[in-house]
């Protein structure tokens, strides 16, 4: 009995001492860290930075994908490089002019963290502020410097993509507290020029803080560098000088061209001084530069994103390109059919443009071409290895037993073209796991820097230098130096610009760059509004064209494969001595068995109707979407687009 009383008394005491709320305050969120922890420990700060990079680049799995954070194929699908997909911007049955139809990239507010441009910018700003705040005192000066440098670089990249999509946008450089009433954070759109200036400023800051090449590449290769910042400045200023943003583009004394040229030359000097340059000395090296490994410095790679080489889907960032380009016969995703435009585009072996006059016949597109042609495309009989079978080839043709009979494709390679894209594919890729081929995406190659310089020289009227820089690109892949590496003698500034743009299409084909060149130069249409660039450069507008393809089809109706294994035993290796003889064999097989046959159905079509590309002038830069304008009504709409109420926009992005 007595015991019970003690128990009771003790229990009452326990219950009453338990009433302190201290036990609540002692509780903690386990897998979470506070800011005082994250920014006062180098490893934790690295985790934060690793997450920031992830926000930016996690979706970047394929070189055709563009736009930071978003990384989709839409823009590449609007060029002549890829057929069959009709994004709204080139769909002639659609007219986008209302804010409701504008690009949603700008983002929107959310109560859970959403990966969108201003969120990424906020986290860059946060890192910059924290590296200056007392909380970061335990971090080394060197570490803080590099952290800040990366934040500046990432912030610049994000603003650049915002400006490329919308023109001038609000510039926010500090961490702001959300409020619906604080007028000071209702930041209006800055002009495009102001944005470009800010981007350049950030790039300069990054260049001053980051190393040109990180030491210990096994830990750091792939991080942003000063070299990337310096080279990015060239790309940014080139964009700012281009007709889309520069009303004065046609003036070869334009300050913008001069600034872009200066930035390019400056980058060339500094980068080459730090060991950057063109990778390799021939076309074979050129084709192999994307898989040099994840921890080895690659002199061509100014900005590089590495993809997973692990054998597990949940371990990393898989490569979707390798699988996409491999045809069915390789157990791949089916292959990326080359458009006829692209097949016809490449120069001849001597660097000259292909014409009827100099003997180019599209039926025999594979004959006598620029060395890069054979590394950009794969066609029947061409050597294209995979792991365990370095000499593997496949063929692209079909046959029919009768007029109405069912079509059979060799190897089920149901492609819309007798050639498919093979650039940046790894001959060591394993067909059971193409996703894990150890390939990198070199987002910014040294070759592009040289072409940027060439373009600026051309636009400023220095034709000789422009041609000289094109020559550097061509020399590396083994085009003979005669006749200015086949470029010929150019006489006008416009010819020189066109030559550079052409070289970019070849050298940078299928690297996600073409849309931005078309956009900068407004090459879809030839109107006053587009500065008549198409006419001045002597081009044809993309509008009104469609992506074309064709088949190699058996001449005669046949129930079985017209070719014998012996016919298909041809191994075409552009690195082989008897390369030309092999091509001749292919030609003879073609002549014997095949005929060029138009596609069964047009490649570009909308709901059963063939369409031509129709890109409206207001699409070069998207308006702000209605979800943005309706909530942030201090933001002006772009000229050419309607605002939330349907009234015409007023924001001039060329300012």
């Amino acid at each position: 009995m007595k015991k019970l009383f003690y128990i009771l008394t003790a229990a009452v005491l326990i219950a009453s001492t338990g009433c302190s709320k201290q036990f609540l305050e002692d509780m903690q969120p386990y897998n979470k860290y506070g800011e005082d922890q994250i920014f006062s420990n180098e490893e934790l700060t690295e985790w934060y930075i690793a997450r920031l990079y992830n926000y930016y680049f996690a979706s970047y799995r394929n070189p055709l994908q563009t736009v930071i954070g978003l990384y989709n194929n839409d823009r590449s699908n609007m060029t002549e490089e890829v057929g069959g997909t009709i994004p709204n911007y080139i769909n002639p049955t659609k007219t986008l002019i209302n804010a409701a139809d504008a690009d949603n990239y700008y983002g929107k507010t959310s109560s859970s963290v959403t990966n969108n441009p201003y969120t990424r910018i906020r986290y860059c700003n946060d890192l910059l502020e924290k590296m200056d705040a007392p909380v970061s005192a335990p971090l080394s000066a060197q570490f803080k410097k590099q952290a800040r440098g990366q934040a500046y670089m990432l912030r610049a990249l994000q603003y650049f993509d915002l400006v490329r999509i919308y023109g001038g946008v609000p510039i926010v450089l500090t961490v702001e507290n959300n409020s619906t009433t604080d007028v000071s954070i209702q930041t209006p759109r800055s002009t495009s020029s102001e944005c470009f200036a800010q981007i350049v400023k950030d790039l300069d800051s990054a260049a001053a803080l980051l190393p040109m090449v990180w030491d210990a590449p096994s830990d750091n290769y792939g991080k942003m560098t000063a070299a990337a910042a310096i080279a990015m400045k060239s790309r940014v200023l080139l964009t700012a000088a281009s007709p889309l943003f520069n009303k004065d583009w046609d003036n070869q004394g334009s300050e913008k061209w001069k600034a872009a040229l200066q930035a390019g030359l400056d980058a060339e000097t500094k980068l080459s001084g730090a060991g950057y340059g063109l990778y390799g000395a021939n076309a074979k090296d050129w084709s192999e530069m994307a898989f040099t490994g994840n921890a080895k410095f690659n002199k061509e790679a100014i900005m590089v994103f590495q993809l997973s080489d692990a054998s597990s889907s949940s371990a990393g960032y898989n490569n979707s390109w390798e699988n996409q380009v491999r045809p069915t016969d390789y157990e791949g995703g089916g292959g990326l059919s080359a458009t006829k435009q692209m097949l016809d585009l490449f120069p001849l072996a001597n660097g000259e443009r292909q014409t009827l006059a100099n003997g180019y016949v599209d039926t025999f597109f594979f004959e006598n071409r620029d060395p890069r042609f054979y590394r950009t495309f794969d066609f029947s009989g061409e050597k294209w290895g995979i792991k365990g079978n370095p000499n593997k080839t496949t063929w692209f043709y079909r046959w029919k037993p009768s007029e109405d009979g069912k079509v059979v494709y060799y190897g089920n390679n149901q492609t819309n073209s007798p050639a498919i894209v093979r650039k940046n594919s790894n001959p060591e890729a394993d067909s059971t796991s193409f996703n894990y081929s150890n390939t990198s995406i070199i987002e910014y190659r040294y070759a592009e820097l040289l072409l940027n310089i060439a373009e600026c020289y051309a636009a400023t009227g220095d034709i000789n230098h422009a041609v000289q820089y094109i020559g550097k690109i061509r020399a590396r892949v083994g085009i003979p130096s005669d006749n200015n590496y086949g470029v010929g003698n150019l006489t006008t500034k416009y010819q020189a610009i066109e030559a550079v743009l052409y070289e970019r299409r070849i050298e940078l084909a299928y690297e996600g760059k073409r849309f931005w060149d078309v956009q900068r130069w407004m090459l879809y249409d030839n109107t006053d509004r587009s500065g008549n660039t198409v006419q001045k450069l002597g081009l044809q507008p993309l509008n009104g064209t469609h992506r074309e393809g064709y088949y190699w089809q058996a001449k005669n109706y046949t129930a079985s494969d017209p070719l014998t294994p012996a016919d298909r035993s041809i191994l075409i290796d552009p690195d082989a001595a008897d390369f030309k003889a092999q091509l001749d064999k292919l030609k003879s097989v073609y002549e014997k068995y095949f005929v060029m046959t138009p596609l069964d159905k047009p490649w570009d079509q909308v709901n059963n109707t063939a369409v031509n590309i129709d890109f409206q002038p207001n699409y070069y830069l998207s308006g702000l979407p209605s979800s943005v304008l309706s909530i942030n009504d201090w933001l002006e709409q772009n000229i050419g687009w309607n605002d939330y109420s349907g009234a015409p926009g007023t924001f001039d992005y060329q300012k």
Binding site: M1, V12, A15, S16, G18, C19, L24, M27, P29, N31, K32, Y33, G34, E35, L44, W47, R51, Y53, N54, P92, T93, K94, T95, Y106, K108, T109, S110, S111, T119, R122, P170, V172, N177, N178, T180, Q186, T187, A216, S218, Y221, G222, N294, D309, A310, S313, S314, K406, V407, V408, N412, S440, N607, N608, V628, I631, N632, D633, Y644, S645, G646
Partner: protein
């Protein structure tokens, strides 16, 4: 101390010295004279009691001071009978037609006599629902109590119904929960991970363990303070009753099958549908099934679902023992539940155990102890498909819909080179598929997975112990202390195994004339071992929740003044640890259940998590009544929780309620005889809600092993990344609901008619609101925004239940109707941009109501068929002219026809729906909307299709009884609101599977083959905006007989011969028949939409209850 001890001891001993006498008697039914076994007999004022034997007789020892016997028996009115010197008494009891007002109702932290109740509380009639063949209690509550909403349940094994009370609002971004708080024996049930109310343990209870269920719908829940806004369900489990040991067995044997499966196209119908679809899209001949193939399809019927689906059995058994003496009572029970599978393999077993004892340690000192445990083991096939598209909804529970809608010309096995192999289902007419792809249908074969050792095993064990120690303070009459301690721990082990599937893929299937496997030569088959999802995962969770309370109770009557009061302090903590391991690429045939054979460890995804949370509360109740006629009740609680910043830990929640039993007033009693009871009651109280995730007041960074970007040798690999959380809002605090309730309890006509009416009006303020969509929120700030306490809403509703009960001779019956109406109005919300009425009237915005109009397109009826579908070229011309004229007449410069983004007439196709053009641009500055402008756009051209989306519902509970036969049924009726035809989009990208559609779509429009087709061509789904028009609206009336049970109690004489106490048999069914079906060709039932992930099951059960 010694004195107290002596005092107590002497109290204990006093009985022994008093003079006793023994009284014998018998308890009989007042009407039938039947002897009643098991009635409880006691002397008034003393707790000790005896129960009547099988023949209704009893024998009780009485003190000289005892003058009144109290007899109670379930289902009968309590009797108080005066006794004089007689040694044998006969006590007649009247069966209760109306609920006994003296019944004790379990309320928050205590009990109250039913007649003293002032809040809106409803008790569940356990007897009525105990026969129902349901997997969980939640499901049994459907239609039982107005204001209690039950949804889901009766589907895939392990999927339980969800419950909510009255109207709940979660306007924060996440962390929301509408589930009511469950309190089992005074222990609050919260999820140890989130700290939010949890239904887990509630759903594990077997009905045989439950003594009573009370639903608190109003301010009477304020005693649960910060968690009370969602309402509270208070459960008391069975305790022992003094008397001879009573053993009860009950068993149910159930039969489950789908109510029905949607009717889908057969092989040929699918082929024709697919041809129409692909032709409309303009796809090449490779997509067309040839006439020859269609003819062959006539002979093909591979029913992927039907091949495995079967009816299944379930068994439930429970055995209880209860008994005890004056000084100690006990209760022990065990239940067993096992469920068979309708699909795949399954071994599901659940055991629950409960034991409890109440011991009088000394006079005034009571110890109560309960230990309960539950053990659940499930081993089932693992046929997960990682595919979301059309009829496939992704995830583990997705196979049903995929199997049902798999085209029937595709076999799951095929004879290749003389060997039967599993095949890779081709996605459709021109899809060879990709066996290696991560997210496609073609890398999945249900039957391959069923037979390759893929399985998931889940073992759950938990136990709860409750101890209470009560002490009646001897010096002050009515004062007592009580200490309560509840502990619950749970451990869950889940093992998931997905083995590689060896699938054969027909490589040439993508070409015209080669779609059928009979056209595939052996050499064109390619074998692929699909390892892309093969893995073994182990997930172990352990959790612990503790709650301790210290109560001070005071109960006393002073003459006609009755007072009871209680204060308590409550402390609760929760913790949870989760360990997760994943191994990839296990080898088929080698895996033996442990990690050695499970493949390679994926280090990035092998994770350990910990969570903890806690709360501290002070609470109390004070009740006063005068003659049980004027009633007053006050409750309060003050809570502290780690969800908020320390300065916002505390919230205070009071509640006050009052009642007046008018029918007890003399003036009433004497004049209004036909009213037996009239009680009015009203309550007012403040309750809270913490619908926000924890730690939102603190800027945190969540470290995750796979969210970082690797460099150097880690290039392309996941590394650890620290993700910033939402920008914190340190000011977040409880939101508050001011609850007001007015209620009427009435009984008329000799208590045959009972009516309960409740009207509530709740104002919630400081609601945790997701403010990110507010006007003038700068998007350029970036990041995310934690909720703020901002919005306010008023919610009101009426609940009515009417019951008529009567008895005519041996025939007894009752009919009860439950119904309710509710609505809400937003009182405060952030500013939103000006918008079209379809948007501005239906969104959350200041002044908007919960019941809103239904908006959508109205089809343009001037088409040739008059149904709004384009069928001829003239239709297209006419419609385009109509838009062109509207554009021209709009007065807007540059206005051109635009149909949902189609700006060229060639974009309009036959087989599309077209709509009326009713409005044009909106002008946000002047807040006006222009007239028709030739443009058809969502929202802009929506019209009111219905004035209100309110749906009305009635549930009718009918009980019939004749002698020993009983019948119970529930009929649910509803109408109003909206109901749309299931018209499900068929995707067109290379990864979309081409599904076999519901059978009504055989009547889909096709320019050539079915120009009179009734339904638009799905190929144009996106072009005409899918189902957003009146075309797809269907009648909303529904009447369903949900449940039915018939019971038979064996005659006592017969039972006695078998040495049993009572025997009762019953047959019951759940999810029974619908009386009306508006769907074309009745292709689906009223329970399940066409893309349901698993069908509602109809269950029949045969059961028996035996008392020993």
């Amino acid at each position: 101390m010694r004195f107290v001890l002596f005092f107590l001891l002497s109290l204990c001993c006093m009985n022994a010295f008093a003079q006793e006498r023994t009284v014998n008697g018998v308890v009989v039914d007042g009407k039938t004279g039947e002897h009643l076994p098991g009635a409880i007999v006691s002397a008034k004022g003393r707790p000790s009691n005896v129960s009547t034997k099988y023949d209704g007789t009893f024998s009780i020892k009485l003190l000289p001071s005892d003058s009144i016997l109290v007899v109670s028996y379930i289902g009968y009115k309590r009797v108080q009978q005066k006794i004089g010197d007689e040694t044998f008494v006969t006590i007649r009891m009247d069966s209760t037609v109306s609920a006994d007002l003296n019944d004790v109702v379990v309320v928050g932290y205590g009990t109250q006599s039913k007649r003293d109740i002032t809040g809106s509380m409803a008790t569940v009639n356990i007897k009525q629902i105990q026969d129902m063949p349901v997997a969980s209690i939640s499901e049994a509550l459907r239609g039982q109590i107005p204001g209690l909403n039950v949804s889901g349940g009766a589907q895939r094994p392990g999927e339980l119904a969800s419950v909510s009370i009255r109207q709940q609002f979660n306007w924060g971004k996440d962390g929301g929960n509408t589930a009511p708080l469950i309190v089992i024996d005074d222990v609050l049930q919260v999820d140890p991970q989130t700290g939010l109310p949890s239904l887990d343990r509630f759903n594990q209870l077997d009905l045989s363990e439950v003594e009573s269920i009370t639903v608190l719908r109003d301010a009477s829940a304020a005693i649960y303070g910060s968690r009370a806004s969602q309402g509270v369900i208070v459960i008391k489990t069975k305790r022992g009753q003094a008397g001879a040991p009573k053993v009860t067995y009950s068993g149910k044997f159930e039969h489950n099958d789908a109510v029905s499966h949607s009717k889908v196209m057969n092989a040929r119908q699918y082929g024709e549908y697919s041809n129409s679809f692909n032709k409309a899209l303009g796809r090449s001949d490779d997509y067309q099934y040839s006439e020859q193939e269609l003819n062959m399809m006539d002979t093909l019927n591979y029913d992927w679902l039907g091949n495995d689906w079967r009816s299944a059995g379930t068994m439930q058994h429970s055995l209880d023992i209860s008994g005890g003496s004056d000084n100690a009572t006990y209760f022990m029970g065990a239940s067993y539940y096992t469920q068979g599978a309708n699909l795949g393999a399954q071994d599901f077993k659940r055991w629950t155990y409960r034991g409890g004892a109440d011991v009088k340690l000394a006079s005034g000192l009571h110890l109560g102890a309960t230990i309960a445990a539950a053990n659940t083991n499930v081993e089932k096939s693992f046929t997960k498909i990682n595919f979301s598209d059309g009829f496939a909804n992704g995830g583990e529970q997705n196979d049903y819909s995929v199997l049902l809608h798999m085209p029937k010309y595709i076999p799951w096995q095929y004879n290749i080179d003389g060997v039967t192999q599993y095949i890779s289902p081709p996605l459709g007419s021109n899809r060879a598929g990709n066996v290696k792809g991560n997210n496609s249908l073609s890398n999945w074969n249900y039957y391959a997975l069923l037979n390759n050792g893929s399985k998931t095993t889940n073992k759950n064990f938990n136990y709860n112990v409750n101890f209470s120690l009560a002490y009646d303070v001897p010096f002050i009459q009515g004062l007592s202390f009580k200490l309560n301690y509840g502990l619950s721990q749970a451990a869950t082990n889940t093992e998931q195994v997905m083995m590689p599937q060896l699938l054969y893929q027909a490589t040439n299937i993508a070409s015209a004339g080669q779609h059928l496997f009979s056209e595939t030569a052996d050499k064109d088959w390619k074998a692929t071992n699909n390892t892309s999802n093969s893995r073994v995962t182990y997930d172990n969770t352990t959790s612990k929740s503790e709650q301790s309370n210290f109560f001070i109770n005071y109960n006393r009557s002073f003459g006609e003044h009755n007072i009871s009061a209680m204060v308590s302090v409550e402390k609760a903590t929760n913790e949870l640890e989760d360990r997760y391991q994943i191994y990839e690429n296990p080898t088929a045939g080698i895996y033996n259940g442990t990690s050695v054979s499970a493949g390679t460890l994926v280090t990035d995804n092998t994770i350990t998590y910990k969570y903890e949370s806690g709360s501290l509360s002070y609470l109390g109740r004070a009740a006063y009544n005068y003659k049980h006629k004027y009633l007053l009740d006050f409750v309060f609680r003050t809570d502290a929780s780690t969800v908020f910043a320390p300065e916002n830990y505390w919230g205070f929640f009071p509640g006050l309620s009052a009642g007046w039993v008018i029918s007890d007033e003399d003036f009433f009693k004497d004049h209004i005889r036909w009213v037996d009871l009239l009680k009015i009651r009203t309550s007012w109280g403040l309750t809270g809600n913490n619908n926000i995730k924890a730690w939102k007041w603190l800027q945190t960074y969540t470290a995750e092993t796979n969210k970082g970007f690797g460099f150097g040798t880690n290039g392309g690999l996941y590394v650890t990344g620290a993700t910033p959380g939402a920008t914190p809002n340190r000011d977040v605090h409880w939101d508050q609901t001011l609850q007001r309730n007015f209620g009427l309890d009435m009984e008329f006509l000799k208590s045959r008619l009972a009516v309960t009416f409740d009207q509530y009006f709740n104002s919630t303020t400081d609601m945790l609101t997701d403010m990110s969509g507010a006007l003038n929120t700068p998007i350029s700030v970036g990041g995310a925004f934690a909720e703020q306490n901002f919005a306010a809403v008023n919610a009101w509703g009426t609940e009515l239940s009417i019951t008529w009960k009567d008895q005519k001779g041996d025939f007894r019956y009752s009919i009860g109707i439950n119904t309710g109406l509710s609505n809400y109005k937003v009182k405060k919300y952030y500013d939103l941009p000006f918008d079209y009425p379809s948007e501005s009237t239906t969104r959350k915005a200041e002044g908007n109501y919960g019941i809103v109009p239904v908006w959508g397109f109205k089809t343009w009826k001037q088409t040739s068929g008059g149904d709004g579908m384009l069928r001829t070229d003239a239709d297209i011309d006419n419609y385009w002219n109509y838009l062109s004229q509207n554009a021209a007449n709009s007065g807007v410069e540059g206005a051109t026809p635009d149909f949902m983004g189609i700006t060229d007439k060639s974009g309009l196709k036959k087989g599309m729906l077209v709509y009326q053009d009713v409005a044009g641009n909106l002008d946000a500055d002047n807040k006006t909307i222009a007239g028709p402008n030739g443009r058809i756009e969502e929202n802009e051209d929506y019209v009111k299709l219905k004035k209100s989306n309110r749906s009305y519902g009635l549930s009718t509970n009918i009980n019939l009884g004749w002698k020993s036969l009983s019948l119970y049924t529930q009929i649910a009726t509803s109408w109003g609101g909206t109901n749309y035809l299931d018209y499900i989009k068929q995707g067109t990208s290379s990864t979309n599977a081409m599904w076999s559609q519901p059978i009504y779509l055989t009547d889909m429009y096709d320019e050539d083959t079915n120009p009179d087709g009734k339904y638009p061509n799905i190929a144009y789904y996106d072009d005409f905006g899918g189902t957003k028009s009146d075309f797809f609206m269907l009648p909303t009336f529904r009447m369903v007989i949900r449940t039915l049970s018939v019971g038979y109690t064996m005659p006592t004489k017969l039972v006695k011969k078998a040495k049993l106490n009572s025997v009762r048999f019953f047959l019951s069914g759940n999810n029974l028949w619908d009386l009306y079906n508006p769907y074309p060709k009745k292709f689906r039932n009223m329970y399940d939409p066409a893309d349901v992930g698993y069908p509602t099951l109809r269950t029949w059960a045969l059961g028996v209850n035996i008392g020993f």
